[in-house]
Structure formats: C-alpha cells, structure tokens
C-alpha cells in the first residue's frame, strides 16, 4: 500500500498540482507567516503522474476567497483547490484565471495612475493565458515579472 506522507485534514483547503518549487509562493499569496494559528502542511517535489513533480499545500481550518484563488492561478495555472469539510472533499475546483485580473496585481509602471492615491482597484487585461501575458487597463503597459507584482 502506498504510504501517505501527508495525513488527511479534517477541515480546510488542499491546493494540489502546484508546479514544483512554487509552494512557498503560494504560502506568500495566502499571507501565511508568524500569525497563523492553524496547521499548514507543505509537500514539495512530490512525484506526480500528470506533472512529473509537483508541490502540495494544505491549510487547515481555512477556505480560500475567490481573489486568493485568482492569485494562485497567476503562478499555478493547473492547480486544483479542494475544500475539505469533515474529512470529505466538499468541493473540488480547478483554479481559473479570469479575463480581467482585478485588485490582485500592482502595475510596474511607477508613472501609472493606478499607483497613486486614487479610489480605484488595479485592473489587468489577460492577453494570453499560456504563456501568461497581462496588460494594465490604465497605462496599457504589459506587466513583466508578473509573480513579483502580486498584491
């Protein structure tokens, strides 16, 4: 029988099929740091039939908001998000990147109006999903190094 390296959780979220090496970025997106009160399990470089190698993140007692899932889609477009309730998979969904990324990225152009104190949310038009290319709705510039500009 296959040995489980990571034990099942009672309630929470399992983010699976993260590209190998990106689990720590997922933790960063979820804001997981010193103040976390529940258990977080990270498995890195796990064999995967579909991906070769993958990372997995399990967060107990927390379900993700749709913006968090959109952010994860930016760095792990093939990830699946399983919501666990009472040891059962209550919901299983694939992350999806919307056509417009609202409030999840910051424009790299320092002279963009979205970077000054105005009552708006940033908004990027997704030009292509693979490879990921996004353009700022306001200044019309393509965002390079998307991962470092996640809010």
């Amino acid at each position: 029988m296959k040995e489980l390296r990571v034990t099942p959780i009672k309630n929470g979220t399992v983010i699976d099929h993260i590209p190998a090496g990106r689990a720590l970025k997922v933790l960063k997106i979820l804001g997981i740091g010193d103040s976390v009160t529940s258990t977080v399990t990270v498995a890195m470089h796990v064999p995967s039939r579909a991906m070769g190698w993958k990372d997995i993140v399990k967060v107990e007692d927390r379900e993700l908001e749709s913006r968090e899932i959109e952010k994860i889609a930016l760095i792990a477009p093939a990830a699946t998000v399983n919501v666990i309730r009472n040891y059962n998979v209550a919901e299983k969904r694939r992350v999806t990147l919307p056509d417009r990324a609202v409030g999840i990225l910051r424009c790299a152009n320092p002279n963009c109006i979205s970077n000054v104190r105005e009552p708006i949310e940033t908004e990027f038009v997704v030009r292509s999903k693979n490879p990921l290319r996004v353009v700022c709705k306001y200044c019309d510039r393509e965002l390079e190094e998307i991962v470092t500009h996640i809010v």
Binding site: I113, V116, R117, P119, I120, K137, Y138, C139
Partner: protein, 311 residues
C-alpha cells in the same frame, strides 16, 4: 442625425475603428472654413467644455479653446495646478466628479499614464485625452492622419516612413497603430537603440501588413510618400558625441531630398530642433506648419461630433 460619437470618450486612438477615423477626417474637412473664420457656426451654442491641464501645453490647450469658441461654445478650466484644489491633494477622481456638474465635456492633460481612462470612469460626460504622461494623445494622431489624408488624398497604400526616436516617442506609437488600421505601408527608420517596440511591430504584422525597418534614411527616401520625422532626444545617449553622430545621420536637408519623390510630404509633430534643416521649409515637401494648423479643424470636428452630434 445622431453620430456614433455622441457622448463618447476619446481616450486612445485604438478605441477608434477605421470607419470612426474616416468620419472624423471628413468632418474636419468641412470645418476648414469655420476654423479659418470665413464661415460662422453656432453648433455648440450653450455648450461648455472643461479643459483640465495638469501640466501646461500651450498648443493643445489653445487649439481646443479656439475650436470651442469657433463653434459658439464656451470653455472653463485650468492650466497648471497652482491655486487649485489639486494642490491641496484632491484626487483626480474627485476633481472630475466636481467638474462634471460644470461642463458638457472634459479635455484632460495629465502627467500620469492612464489618467484619462480613470477620469472617464468617474463621469458620465465624455472625456477627451489630451495627453497622459508618456501614454496616449489621440487628437494629435487624428490631426496627423488628417494631414496625410488631406495632402495625399488617401491613407491606404501610401508609403509612410517614420524616422527618429521610435522607441520612446508616444506620437509615433499611436500613429503606427492607426496607420496599420488604415492600411498604409510602413517603414521604420531609427538607430538600433531606438527601434519601434516589438509589441507594436507584432501588432502591425497581425494586421497582415508588411513593413520594413532600416537604420539609414537615404536607403528608403526614394519610395517614401510621407516622411514623419521625430526628435531624437539627447538624454537617450550617454555619450554626447554619439548623440551628435546619430542625430546628424537622420537630419533631413536638401541633399537627402534629391532622391525624394516629387509628391513627398514631410511631417513633424513640432517643436523641431535640428532634425529638419530650415532650408527644407521653403520646399513644397514641408507640411509641418500646415499639420500644426490642422489641429483646429480636427479638434472642432471631434467636439462637434461628440457634443453636437455632427452635421
């Protein structure tokens, strides 16, 4: 008749289709006698235009104000933010919400990219972008297109050569998008460090249009119908001597014009420095002063289409 322009924002030249652009060009042609003061119009009687210039721009502001006055409308606004609530730290969004109740349309020049798009989100009134930082300046592009169309009779099929700083110049970027939309044949001439950005060249290719790039002006002179010259800025070159050499090699003078077609027109968004020799002003090729004066009928046409519904 209602025009498709009524109440519409003009934020980027890319928001305008070929049919839209052609409508503006034809409307501008009809405005020429009104712009010259030989025919009177009251088509915008009772309308108020707000011109909000967060940074000064004499030519653009005065031509919008003159355009409005020629059509019987009125103008209010500011030029430079001194003494305004902007200086007290008011957001652009709040300023726009306030100005909305004082005017029928808003012309905005702002130092930050995307400012006009933001402004348009906070008002029901039409917003015309009169330059947002290094971003868009669509009415400049429209007057450039009008100049080519008026001088050459058409835009489609013309060999248009853009020369100078093609990397940083917003004027040439917007013009390239529009010329590709209108089916012109494009040639890009620049030093290797100041070439047209890749994504713009890709866009031209996607439109199914062939284009060429060159580093020397004399190579392409012979078959150009339109030569659009832009300034090469000194600060783009760390070495002043290199700048002198590069700038000198793109200078348009009588010698280089020996190979030119008889009907070649030379354009420049102005102000120019040394990139066009003064001796060229006297030739029939020089249309850059005419180009500048075309700002008036073009902006009148646009205001009339947006506020008056066109004729």
């Amino acid at each position: 008749m209602m025009s498709s322009f009524q109440g519409r924002d003009i934020l980027s030249i890319r928001d305008l289709s070929r049919a839209d652009i052609e409508l503006v060009l034809k409307a501008a042609k009809k405005m020429v006698p009104v712009a010259a003061g030989s025919r009177r119009s009251k088509s915008l009687d009772g309308k108020i235009l707000a011109t909000l210039f967060y940074e000064p721009s004499t030519r653009t502001r005065l031509s919008f104000e003159s355009a409005m006055a020629r059509l019987g409308g009125r103008v209010l606004g500011f030029s430079g933010t001194e003494g305004t609530s902007v200086q007290k730290g008011e957001t652009l969004a709040d300023t726009i919400r306030m100005v909305e109740s004082y005017s029928d349309a808003i012309v905005l020049r702002h130092p930050q990219e995307g400012a006009a798009r933001l402004a348009a989100e906070f008002t029901e009134r039409p917003v015309i972008n009169a330059g947002d930082g290094a971003g868009q300046h669509p009415t400049q592009t429209l007057l450039d297109l009008y100049t080519i169309w008026d001088e050459k009779g058409s835009i489609e099929g013309q060999n248009v050569t853009l020369v100078g700083d093609l990397r940083y110049g917003r004027t040439v970027h917007s013009l390239t998008y529009a010329l590709a939309e209108l089916g012109a044949h494009l040639t890009f001439v620049s030093p290797p460090t100041l070439e047209m950005p890749r994504e713009i060249l890709e866009h031209v290719k996607e439109r199914g249009l062939a284009f060429r790039t060159a580093h020397r002006l004399d190579e392409v002179m012979r078959d150009s119908d339109v030569l659009y010259v832009t300034r090469i800025q000194k600060e783009r070159f760390p070495d002043p001597q290199e700048y002198e050499e590069v700038a000198g090699s793109y200078r348009v003078d009588e010698a280089i014009l020996r190979d030119a077609k008889r009907g070649l027109i030379i354009m420049h968004p102005l102000p120019r420095l040394s990139e066009i020799a003064p001796e060229v002003d006297r030739t029939k090729h020089a249309v850059y002063f005419k180009q500048a004066s075309n700002a008036l009928p073009v902006r009148m046409a646009l205001l009339d289409l947006i506020l008056g519904g066109g004729e």
